[in-house]
Amino acid sequence: MKHLKLAAILWFILLPVVSSAANDGYDYPMLGPYEATILGTPNNLKYPPPERILARRIVLDIIPDGKKPDIFFYNDGLRCTLAYQDKQAPLVFLIAGTGANDQSQKVLSIMKALYSAGFHVITLPSPTHPNFVISASRTHVPGDLTEDAADLYVAMEHAWNKVKGDVEVSGFYLGGYSLGGTHAAFVAKLDEERKIFNFRKVLMVNPAVNLYNSVTKVDGLLEKIPGGQRKIGAYFNAMFAKFAEFYRKGDFIEINDEFLYTLYKSKLFSDDENCGLIGLSFRTSLAGMVFASDVMTNGGYVVPKNRELTATDPLENYLFVYMHLSFMDYFDEYFYPYKHRKYPDLTRNALIDSLSLKSIEEYLKSSSKIGAITNDDDFILASGEIDYLRQLLEERLTVYPRGGHLGNLEYRDNMINLIGFFK
């Protein structure tokens, strides 16, 4: 017994040193991966935002004379955000993650941190965001990393042409988180041929290694909900009822960050429920992406082929159906058939292999400008993928012991490390 106790103490003392040698003790709160992903970083542990920031929206007309369906009348072009210094500085392009636009909270927090470190920043929506699907994707069918990267590259060129008269740039950098991290690697490779930006450094934050593996994992988050994926509606309603009940009983006025934090501290949702909530959030993004693609290509997947939706048509039935369709459904019923029509020789397995960092591993291994940051408990990675990243990037990879999927992104140590990579 005594030995066991001693071993346990030693294990606790040694663990931080072993798991991340660069940081003695990682002080991000001890949260489980799902909890961390939802809760993020408590305000007092966040990297401080800059006092003032010069920023503006830029709207890009990338596909000229593209006929836009009435239902997307509000979509006026690809929306990017520029944060600019009033002196010469390096510029970082940031690619948002799955379903996120140029002003999603995560991409803005990276933007602000880099801005306070003296960089210009341009943020771009993810190729999976409806705005990108409508305004910047040449095929309007997202998911092919090489094609998405080419679209992103064109978008970056447009953005740069639009702002280059106003900002003085000393060099270009590139970063992205989640799927945006994976995109960044493919964009970097394209840049080696196109040589417009000659990115000095490229950072992937919590990237997917193999897209197919990651979407399998993300779909899997909904497997544990009562009745399985098909009961996502009942699950949504049950979770909302729980949330409402908590609000009714407590002494709250506004539904704000403070309320949400109290909610999570009270452990209202179990670990399995948190897991399902993350799955639900991904599914909600996916619904928007597939709808945008379905309408833009007249794909006949959920919106009947040849139906012209107007700006006042009710959409709730479509929302309901899309919420029931998984990434895997998209892959097998929409994405692969589309690819197969275009390239009849393409097999399903070859397509899966092409959606992976492995398909460009020679480049990633040899290019010292590429780096990555991720977490040991990031659930979008399949088993063995962290080890794969390790042997691919070696010392260019940082792995934090916890944080789930991007939960620790805004934690000050993480941001300092992130900024340090670009310095």
Binding site: K67, K68, D70, I71, F72, F73, Y74, N75, R79, N101, Q103, P125, H129, P130, N131, R230, K231, I232, G233, A234, F236, N237, F240, A244, Y247, R248, F252, I253, I255, A287, G288, F291, A292, V295, N298, G300, Y301, V302, V303, P304, K305, N306, R307, E308, T310, A311, T312, D313, P314, L315, E316, N317, Y318, L319, F320, V321, M323, H324, L325, E333
Partner: protein, 265 residues
């Protein structure tokens, strides 16, 4: 004073006709291109609602006036974009931040009166006392509401309106309703807004604070305009900012459910 009562319906009418004209102008702006080339006949989609009829509906809120509501939602987007937000940006550009804050505080303080009588209607004693304390503190130490010393003293801002009072008396929320300029509501909350506005109008007319001035109406009009600007300045919501195609559905769900939840407070 009498005159002002008479002019109220007229000014409402005038406002309505201006909104109607704007509505026509703004909503035709985007739909010139739709009539070109009709597509071939429809073909049923691969998936439809019946595939998943064994599950509960998601975020469903009754919306019998959906097409009308959606067109007002779209109108509000254009109104915001071409008129309201540019005015608000101009205001934010020319006034220093501390002035904006002061203006917000003053209108917020005036709004406490609404919370006060509605928490009385709803027999919510604690809310009434806190709001009374806030009004008293902020109107005196807070220099007529310019500052908000009540919040750091522990008196957190409450909220109550006549829509909630009616809800408390058992009046049903009624159908979801998107109101021009004001945005997402229900029939009950819209009615409540109208009652609160009327109560305020009667109170101001009775007090007649600018009665001695020849330009009383102009001053009141200016104050109302500033309040309208301040209202939008404080509201972070932007129509279609999410770029999410089902934004209308989610906003409807959250507006409705939030309204119902607030009844319990």
């Amino acid at each position: 004073m009498k005159m002002r009562f008479l002019t109220l319906p007229i000014s409402i009418l005038r406002a309505c006709s201006v909104i109607a004209a704007l509505y026509v102008a703004l909503s035709t702006a985007g739909c010139a291109a739709t009539a070109i080339g009709k597509l071939s006949p429809e073909i049923p989609a691969m998936h439809s609602v019946s595939d998943f009829s064994d599950d509960e509906r998601i975020a469903r809120i009754a919306d019998p006036w959906e097409r009308f509501n959606r067109s007002i939602y779209n109108f509000n987007y254009r109104f915001d974009r071409y008129i309201y937000l540019p005015v608000v940006s101009g205001y934010e550009f020319i006034t220093p931040t501390f002035v904006q804050k002061g203006v917000s505080n003053v209108f917020s303080n005036i709004g406490e009166v609404r919370t006060l009588y509605n928490s009385f209607f709803q027999l919510k004693g604690k809310k009434f006392m806190i709001t009374f304390g806030r009004l008293l503190t902020n109107s005196t130490i807070g220099i007529g509401g310019l500052l908000d010393p009540a919040t750091p003293l522990g008196l957190k801002k409450q909220g109550a309106d006549f829509g909630q009072s009616m809800g408390g008396w058992g009046v049903d929320s009624g159908p979801y309703l998107v109101v021009p300029v004001l945005g997402p509501n229900t029939l009950r909350s819209t009615g409540g807004f109208a009652v609160d506005a009327s109560i305020r109008f009667i109170a101001i007319s009775a007090a007649d604070p600018f009665g001695h001035s020849d330009n009383g109406d102009v001053i009141l009009g200016g104050i109302s305009a500033l309040e309208g600007i301040d209202l939008r300045h404080r509201e972070e919501f932007r129509y279609y900012e999410s770029g999410y195609p089902f934004e209308y559905d989610l906003v409807r769900f959250l507006t409705y459910e939030r309204g119902e939840l607030m009844l319990t407070k």
